[in-house]
Amino acid sequence: MKIGVAGYLQPLWKALLGRKPAPLPFDRLFRLFRLVLEKNNRAIEIITDMGEKMGGDYLFDVQYLRTAYSELSDTVRDSLVHFDALTQGRYRKIDEAFGRMDALARSAIFEAAPSLNERVLYLKDISWDLSRDVGGKNAHLADLKNNLGIKVPEAFAITIPAFLDLLSHNGIDAKLAASDLAGGLSDEEAAKIRGLILNAEVPPSLAAEIEKALVKMRALHGENCRLSIRSSADEEDGDFSFAGQFDTVLNVPAEKQAVLDAYRKVVASLYSSRAIAYLKQPGLAGARPGMAVCCMLMIDAVASGVAYSTSPSGGSDTLMISSAWGLGAAVVDGQTDTDMHILRKGGKAEILESKIGRKEFMFAPVDADGVSRLSTAADLRDKPSLTEDQIRELAAAAIRIENYFRKPQDIEWAIDPEGRLWTLQARPLRAAEEAAPARRLPDPHASPVIFRDKGIVVQKGIACGRVFLLRKMEELDHIPHGSVIVSRYDSSNFIRVMPHASAIITAVGTPASHMASLCREFRLPAVVNTGDATSLLRHGQEVTIFAGDEGGITVYDGIIAGYTGLRAQTTMDDVYEFRKKRYVMRNISPLNLIDPIMDNFTVENCRTIHDILRFMHEKSVIELVERARYGGEMMVKKAAVRLDLPVPVDLIMIDIGEGLEAGIQKNAKKIPLESVKSAPLKAVVKGMLAPGAWHSGAVALNVNDLLSSVMRMPDITTGAADFVGYNVAVISDEYLNLSLKFGYHYTLIDCYCSGTPKNNHIYFRFSGGATDMTKRSRRITLLELILKEYGLNLTSKGDFLIARISNLPKADVENLLEKMGRLLSYTRQLDAVLNDDDSVGRYAEKFLSGNYQL
């Protein structure tokens, strides 16, 4: 993945060495640079403020969102104008990229209709910004295929605009609008809508486009190829899984009529009673999702199943794979026992535990169309459905997908007869949350235990109620509110009663089933695979169940006082309107462009406004550095040289006015600290070199190693590229703009330090990181504690911190900068030791007292 500095700078070199545009006068270059920084800083402040105000701690409305976003958009546009001038138009594509993001954000904020004209799109043509038009499932699959290079079967999407056409062509949209006003669809109205869709005419132009896509599919995969037609609703596979709520039609011949029939069936399932029940959960109340559809080439699956990239009820360092013979329905419908493997994540995933289930049934396509449940051949029933190599390959893919989406994933996969692994879908996994963390187990003697530690917990929690032994699905509608449902099999049909049930216990089933996903979404305590334990429970018996972290559930006889109604509390994330508004932030605040040396540090990979800002900042800094080397004028008139320090810190200084002693040798390789006149740089460096701030005996690295990790330069591919790098200090006698890269963390200090207090400021920014959010947040907390003590104003969110102070005398600025210098060295070394939350306060205190020992 790494392309090194040469590749990174290639576009710039090409431009500079090739066309050689007339260089800007350096004063203008620097002025533009300052303007880009100033605007970018403002933009990042707005993003941080939006993140804070829309993080769940504030009541906000659309007015706020519109005002804040409009200011952000204007600020970024201003910055782009300066950036284009600074880089002489070399990165013009960034304007287009921002234009797309801006249109997307505006359409979400100002609630415009989808803008896409395409009704049918192959996955390869689906870019990240089309997710609103193709639904979550299609968008994720396209992402996996196009950006991550994961093997995904050939597929095309029938888009949400196509769905809207279908509704309006048949007059169904007017009926839905009327029911919206009347407070939502009743079951009877929903049934009518389903009937209308099943009999609807697909608009001829849409039918023609689908036929065109099918011709292509048959040309690529043979006349007899079969498709699976799956739903890809608006939010599906986003924050809410809709697991198993919509119909999937498998093994459909790639012929127009068959596909149109299946299409109508899948679309109609948007109005099934199951889906309507699902939409009644708190987080979705008020939602009216649109339905796109995914038409995917069927894989002739030898084995298939589900991988959870993080075990939902285990530690975050394990992942779980469920598998069975044949098609995946066996796993996701919880119809049969399956194989289950738990692996420890890490360099090479290690299999911790394998449980081979008795796979009595399997699902296979039948010749005409559709699929059927068959008895598994006797010799296969107890045989593992995956080899160890396949398990590891799956684990590696699951980890890659999780890393890419930065969230645990629920992945459906299949292995074809050639042993190739295919990913059929990936969606965020909701972890089993604690229902009532503060509660402790009741006194074990308080009630007799019916059974202890059975089954696999899919959703933790405590529940009380009467047992309802479910024998037939038809009995579902007769289950009284508050029941503990006990059933042999699990089923996503249970959705109908989930809002009112106390708990679900099944004899077979896997934690990877649709039902399990739904229980996690409803935070309904649920346990599967309890075996014959269910026979120990009597219909109508009152019980209290405890589904904890390990060892399955324990069931007590009788209702234990004080433990009723303990379903996990809903969070702000469960408020549909909140999530919908905050969804906008997806295109604004995440930072995807982390390392400028990676080959994905391109305009094309800017997915968010934060990425655009990062890209502009990086390229602006590099512009200065490179102009120093290749621009001629600056090299002659201004010094651009390495700072010679008693430690291996590779820092390039660009002097824009009296930052260095007069008469510096222009070709000097390095210049000593004594020749630096820039007051702010001297102060920071003094702090960084303060005895003890960076020295440590406790860390198992020698001083040189440690220091080179403190400020390591990227590999320099050509020995002559003296000034390549991005630890850069742009200086004058009174000014410093210092950009440092610490591993995956970035620090920026921008400072005026003059004799006029009102002109002075310090702007400190710390961001990024490759480690998990907990560790990154600890470091931020530590910085916050210390910088607050120094009197700086702070804004932080997640792994991002801005600290600023202004209007203070020169001596105070210098004093603060020196402290910041110490902090920069100190926090880098702390990486290895901030192992728990308590350590943060401890190390902050030590630092403040001048004790830098680790």
Binding site: L59, D61, G286, T570, M572, Y576
Partner: protein
């Protein structure tokens, strides 16, 4: 113990939904309305301990809600929130005996504290 009843009126659904979720977690009984007419109708039928209302709404605005509430139930506290905060609106609201006045976005913690103050003032 009877739960305190809180009414939230805001023409943006997100405000009511977020307020309802967070206030219910504190044990309040919360009803939300997207405009003032049905809200006042509901108020005439049953008293609420606290009314949280948006200032600027189509039809009946926050000031009118305040006046009506004070007419019906002088002891019911009204908290006003607005995206269009300026000194004049604040003064106008304060003259109308508003309990508190917040510019939006309003920190939920502060709103909760204000409700608590309103309720404890009620007791004394």
């Amino acid at each position: 113990m009877n739960k305190y009843r809180i009414m939230v009126i805001d023409d943006e659904k997100i405000v009511g939904d977020m307020a309802k979720l967070s206030l219910e977690q504190d044990g309040y009984d919360v009803e939300t309305f997207l405009n003032a007419e049905p809200a006042l109708e509901r108020l005439r039928a049953a008293p609420f301990a606290v009314v949280v209302t948006d200032y600027k709404m189509k039809g009946i605005d926050g000031m009118e809600v305040l006046r009506t509430v004070k007419n019906l139930y002088p002891s019911t506290k009204v908290i006003m929130i607005t995206a269009f905060a300026n000194l004049d609106t604040a003064i106008e609201a304060l003259r109308g005996d508003v309990h508190d006045f917040f510019p939006k976005p309003v920190k939920i913690k502060e709103l909760k504290a204000s409700i608590q103050r309103a309720l404890s003032a009620d007791k004394t």
